[in-house]
Symmetry: C2
Subunit: 226 residues, 2 copies
DNA sequence: GTCTATACGGAGATAGAC
DNA sequence: GTCTATCTCCGTATAGAC
């Protein structure tokens, strides 16, 4: 936003050559600035209490520009949340292809669910989650999106891994989809529920490990093959 | 609210004797009408989008009366939610003293968690839950209250039951508090998570029973004594 | 594409009569 | 205690110049 102002006043490079920004680039940078400011405002205030004036101030562009780009507050909200959800869950993906071929299944599951928990318990992601939950009645699309994103990037691949482990006789989970839901619920889900209602609850690293290990043991006590 | 109007016009009983309402009763009935209308409005619109004008219309009293009773929108919100949370969870209480003395522990746990699920999955209670979660950042008191209410009325008594079962050798759960969290997560928590993001998701009765039974089996595979 | 300036409605809250 | 009428401000959204 400081950069834009300089451009308008005739910025030059180190040889004194005027820098004429590509209009398309300038537009998409502004678009991004709007998205960033809007996300911060929505996370802090919720949808209804979020103010387009505040987003205007935060983004450094004019309110009319925001409306040209996004049309309305509702559409801005959906665009912002719909854009950030996949990015958020993309961080979770890497770790899960290793499950099917892990030499030590218990250790692999502990590592996977611990990685997930570390990310999903982050304050910004917890706030995003609370925001989406709180607006589900008014924006049901977000519920569908959340489900699809979290299923595609987490549960889905893990279901496949369990299916393969079943076939190989390394696991005995007749309903792999339910088994994944149970594993997630009993590991990540436990501290997540606490943090949902107590954002500032301190969860020591040792405590997280203990809870997650216990959850994995619970899971394997039922589904592991002898 | 129709009743109030009649009173004002000089209602009489069956013998023609004027009915003069006790002012304190009239006041507390109005107070209740405000609370009812406010709860409906907050559940439907969320805190910020809820309108004091709409609550005024819904309650049948004047806006000034609402402010005399509750002072501000914030205080009204806290009073309403703080009042309804304990009532909601009170429905869950009866079933849990039977756990420690149940002849068939598995059946008792299935029945208890099924009862809980039936209540907690009700659309009105799910909406209340979403509302509270969505406003946690702005009303952290509600998180504390939710935790205390749900702990006092559900988890707490169950922790005691597990402790007793441990002592009697009927259960081997070294950390009863964690065990309760795990049991709840893996039974009620599974369909609850689905409904949190998909309010209209249909959960057949047979499916609920299947999920909950499977969760109890998962739990007992680890913690039951042979 | 982007800005300034403004329209217009509805928000929360209160003054003052009864 | 309760009402009617009103104050004041801030909300979303847009018109029109550049």
């Amino acid at each position: 936003m400081g950069a834009e102002a300089q451009d308008a006043q005739g910025a030059t490079d180190e040889y004194g050559i005027p820098i004429i920004p590509d209009p398309a680039d300038a537009a998409s940078r502004k678009r991004q600035a709007i998205i960033d400011a809007a996300l911060a405002e929505f996370l802090a205030e919720g949808y209804s209490a979020a103010s387009m004036d505040a987003i205007t101030r935060g983004s450094g562009v004019s309110k009319a520009t925001i409306y040209k780009h996004f049309g309305s507050k509702e559409r801005l909200f959906l665009a912002v949340i719909g854009g950030v959800l996949p990015k958020t869950y993309a961080d979770l993906e890497p770790s899960n292809s290793t499950i099917a071929d892990a030499p030590d299944l218990r250790a692999a599951l502990v590592r996977l669910t611990t990685d997930w928990a570390r990310i999903l318990l982050r304050p910004d992601i917890m706030s995003l989650r609370r925001l989406v939950i709180g607006e589900i009645d008014r924006f049901p699309q977000l519920g569908q999106l959340w489900y699809r994103v979290s299923y595609d990037m987490n549960n889905g691949p893990l279901v496949e891994a369990f299916t393969e482990l079943n076939a190989r006789g390394a696991l005995a989970a007749p309903d792999p989809k339910l088994a994944v839901q149970q594993l997630v619920a009993v590991t990540v889900g436990v501290p997540q529920l606490v943090r949902t209602f107590s954002p500032d609850a301190v969860i020591e690293d040792a405590e997280l490990t203990r809870v997650i290990s216990s959850g994995v043991d619970l899971f394997l006590a039922r589904y592991a093959t002898a």
